[in-house]
Amino acid sequence: MMKLEAIIQPSRFESVKDALREIGIEGMTVTEVRGHGRQKGHTEVYRGREYTVDLLPKIKLEMVLPDTLVSRAVDTILKTAKTGKIGDGKIFLSRVEEAIRIRNEERGENAL
């Protein structure tokens, strides 16, 4: 089992979600987050006072996948989340030790 975390542009979220559903990924957790990597922020001016806004709104997707689905999921996200500009985000993969469904205590990939 792998955990996939993807931080993407909010404008790409709907397409990414639909594309993931098409390859059979049903479950995911989505958070509205703020952050930045190499992308520079922008300045805002309120009554002459300038503010640099460098933490930009992003969407974070989290899902735990059976090993067989991981590479297809990564490809799908790469394809649908890319705009080609700085600020498109990142994907992080990490190994997951165990998964447990709270309702019936199923374990491992059955719990996904």
């Binding site: 805002e44 001016v45 309120y46 009554r47 002459g48 006072r49 503010y51 640099t52």
Partner: protein
């Protein structure tokens, strides 16, 4: 029964109407100096008693009709001016603060709606409009004694004095509320309540009496220095704006200012608030005619035109400077225009109104963006930059642009403003401005000191960081999880 009576007296009414029409057209043709009119000739004893009774009745009915019209407009205006404080100003200021201080700033405006109303009933109205002293009113109308259905001919001869009283109350509410823009995000609620109560009694009441009260020495009609202030440039905007500056200097900067970003938390709220202010201001300025008259229309038009020009002026200045015109800039410019036209609204036509608005829009933009940065004071929501500066500009420009064709306040045919040929009016305006500045400066310093000694004016630093909503009121504006 009524119909039968009407038919019976039908012929009498016809005769009467013919006489009235003849009298009106004759007197209209006569020059006012002539005394040889048929109405004043000794032929009157011929009119039978029934006819003269009927005439008296008609005269009464005409007066009642005028009073009904004026009163309707003044009651609407009264409600419009209250709408400027809540929700207008509360939303305008509420959107400009950070989210943790939203309820606190709104609550300050709302508290004044209740507090000043009570003070007004006890002594406030009387101190502003009772008696005929040069500096302050009297206790003549304390507890609203003698304020009822009968008009007070000293102020508004066609509406119940109670209407005039409640209309003026709404001005007394918004004026101290404007000051809270400078003390925003760091003043104690208890300190705000005490300070603004004292401020209303010590600064607002005398100034309102001097400028608008019978016998007041700045009163445009008969004062020693006749200062033109149609709707409150000195009484409302200079007084609150200059006091706001004193408050900002006395209290010091907010924690983190100017290094830490403090952008407005919701310009949507501010936008709605500013639009409500624009609409409410028609009650403020056009209502100050105190009648549903052509002067009210003139003030309405001037108000609207100046506001539009000021919104454009601020936006254009911003566009030139930053390459973009912002929504906050446009609405701030509109408020600056509303402030500046306030004293002039009943004295100028639409073209001078455009000029006043444009000048105020650009100058207030410079006040808020440049002057504030140079001096470094933390007038959090620019109460001084907009109301103090805009009020001063408006008061002085009123002396330049006032026209006797709009409002012959010094008597028919007599020049009013500088461009009319009466340049010394600018001097009178300057006297009014200086006195308003002086009272606001001195009064505010003394009252802040007193407030500081009794309850304190500023919240502790950790409360300021946590936010005034929680620390002063025990609640939050946005409980997104509930």
């Amino acid at each position: 029964m009524k119909c039968v009576g009407w038919k019976c007296s039908g012929s009498l009414v016809l005769v009467l109407a013919a006489i009235l029409v003849a009298a009106v057209s004759l007197s209209a043709q006569q020059p006012p100096a002539s005394t040889a009119t048929p109405a004043s000739s000794p032929a009157t004893p011929e009119i039978p008693k029934a006819l003269s009774d009927r005439l008296a009745q008609l005269e009464k009915d005409v007066k009642a009709a005028q009073s009904a019209g004026d009163n309707a407009w003044m009651l609407v205006s009264t409600a419009l001016v209250l709408m400027m404080t809540g929700p207008g100003l509360a939303l305008f200021y509420g959107g400009l603060v950070r989210r943790k201080n939203t309820l606190a700033i709104m609550m300050q405006s709302f508290a004044l709606m209740a507090l000043i109303t009570i003070l007004w009933a006890l002594v406030g109205y009387s101190l502003c409009f009772g008696g005929s002293g040069p500096v302050i009113g009297s206790f003549e109308h304390a507890f609203l004694r003698g304020v009822g259905a009968d008009p007070n001919p000293d102020y508004a001869g066609t509406i119940p004095q109670a209407t005039f009283m409640v209309y003026q109350l709404m001005f007394a509410i918004i004026t101290p509320a404007l000051i809270t823009g400078a003390t925003a995000e760091r003043m104690k609620f208890s300190g705000t309540v005490l300070f603004l109560t004292l401020w209303f009694l010590v600064v607002y009441a005398p100034l309102a009496h001097m400028v608008w009260g019978k016998g007041g020495f700045l009163n445009a009609a008969g004062g020693k220095f006749p200062c033109l202030d149609f709707a409150g440039g000195t009484v409302v905007h200079i007084s609150s704006g200059v006091s706001a500056l004193v408050c900002a200097l006395y209290m010091g900067k907010r924690v983190g200012y100017p290094k830490q970003p403090m952008p407005p938390h919701s310009l949507v709220l501010s936008f709605i608030g500013a639009c409500l202010l624009w609409v409410g201001w028609f009650g403020f300025n056009a209502g100050s005619a105190l009648a549903a008259s052509s002067l009210a229309t003139s003030a309405f038009v001037a108000t609207h035109f100046a506001t539009a020009a000021a919104a454009l002026g601020w936006s254009a200045a911003e566009w030139l400077k930053n390459g973009r015109a912002s929504a906050l800039g446009a609405i701030s410019g509109a408020v600056a225009g509303l402030v500046a036209i306030t004293p002039a609204s009943g004295f100028v036509g639409p073209m001078p109104a455009l000029a006043i608005g444009l000048i105020a829009g650009v100058l207030c933009y410079l006040m808020v963006t440049k002057v504030k940065a140079i001096f470094g004071y933390d007038d959090a929501l620019d109460a001084f930059g907009v109301h103090g500066a805009g009020g001063t500009i408006g008061a002085l420009l009123t002396g330049v642009f006032a026209q006797q064709v709009i409002n012959p306040i010094f008597g028919s045919g007599k020049a009013v403003g500088g461009l009319d040929g009466h340049w010394s009016q600018v001097g009178n305006q300057l006297v009014g401005v200086l006195i308003a500045w002086g009272i606001a400066l001195v009064g505010t310093i003394v009252l802040l000191k007193i407030t500081d000694l009794i309850v304190g004016v500023r919240v502790p630093e950790e409360h300021e960081i946590e936010g005034l909503d929680i620390t002063q009121h025990g609640e939050e504006a946005y409980n997104l999880e509930s």
